[in-house]
Amino acid sequence: MSTIARNPSADNAPDRYVDRKRYLWMLSVIWPAAPLIGLYLVSQTGWGIFYALTLIIWYGIIPIFDGLFGNDPNNPPEAAVARLEADRYYRILTYLTVPVHYASLIVSAWWVATQPMAWWEVIALAFSLGIVNGLALNTGHELGHKKRAFDRWMAKIVLAVVGYGHFFIEHNKGHHRDVATPEDPATSRMGESIYKFSLREIPGAFRRAWNLEKVRLERVGKSEWSLSNEIIPPLLLSVAIYTTLILVLGPDPKLLVFLPIQMAFGWWQLTSANYIEHYGLLREKMADGRYERAQPRHSWNSNHIASNLILFHLQRHSDHHAHPTRSYQSLRDFRDLPELPTGYPGMFFIAMVPPIFWSVMDRRVVAWAGGDLGKIQIDPASRKRITRKYGRAREAARIAAE
């Protein structure tokens, strides 16, 4: 299943680990400024194509780098984790990323409102900014899992950039609990296209987040319509940010088109991540009616170094689900994990073309389940097509097992 060489097991190695990626992690901080670098290049050359710089790097160049640089040989032993966690440098990088996201949004909006731009250029910049706003969700994800109150506040502040403050509740308390079960709107089903998935995922995520807060606040004895509802403060912050932008910059028609597109495309990046991270995977129900514990085998991974360096190791996803409060620098790679053929950017791109995505992933899901379609989450509407296509694999597996 694996397309890249796996790292040797580092389970029992003593802590002589030197993090060779230590300074390369700054790429995760610089990357959200990519739209600003694009604007700088436009101002220097006058070429409108640079409005699409982020878009081209993300969907075009990073997948090429993933192919060229491939597997990340660095893997901290378990013994190094406590030391890495205690190193403040890594934490500071995640804090620095927060103002970069604000700068990208504010400068881009200012540019749209004040500089002469063709309509296609406005759209290209909106998509570019949308991509790094998707990454605001990634930064919010990293910070939101931490136990410190300051980190959790930083998470809400950065999530407000993309208008997705409920992610903090939805992801930590919802997705992590329900991952790889039919109850999870953020786990995609085999045969489900990303477009169909998004219609289940986006409203489902909000509903779950709201219900989680409602149940908690009922216990606390407070109204769900209060500032104690952790969804509401970041939501108000989003309203404040966007209202201020429109009031200060003026209701320019290009700006009014630009802002919703960049936000929606930011959400689309999250939808893309949720779509590929657990596609088709299913936890089994135990005798007592609870699902088996989420295992490393219930996430798709990519150990490609290039894309991991701009994603705070999000793609070492199995270890993240095993230890959600663990920081990015300590996440580890393991043998025999469900493996994606390329990093997230390349996967996000092919996800938008469902027949290609299915041809890449469906056989991997079937192999993951040992050919047993009963162990896979299948989209009910696609069950017939999938059984026709892969039913024979199941037969073969049954015969082999006997």
């Binding site: 930590n172 908690r216 009922e218 216990r219 514990r293 230890h323 959600p324």
Partner: protein, 63 residues
């Protein structure tokens, strides 16, 4: 008052302190915490997974 620890992230529910944010004021006994309550820090383990640690307060941890 007893204490219970999340086996994943080492969060500790201490009956003496409770967990006000989650709606369990100090001195809420573990028995009153619902079974489907998930660890407030990692959310990947539920109440039935928690490990009893023994008593809190004077006398320290008697695990």
């Amino acid at each position: 008052m007893a204490r219970y620890q999340c086996p994943d992230c080492s969060y500790v529910y201490d009956e003496e302190k409770g967990e006000a944010h989650e709606g369990f004021p100090p001195h809420t006994p573990w028995a009153q915490v619902p079974d489907d309550w998930a660890c407030p820090d990692c959310a990947v383990r539920d109440k039935p997974d928690f490990i009893p640690l023994g008593m809190s307060g004077i006398g320290g941890v008697a695990a």
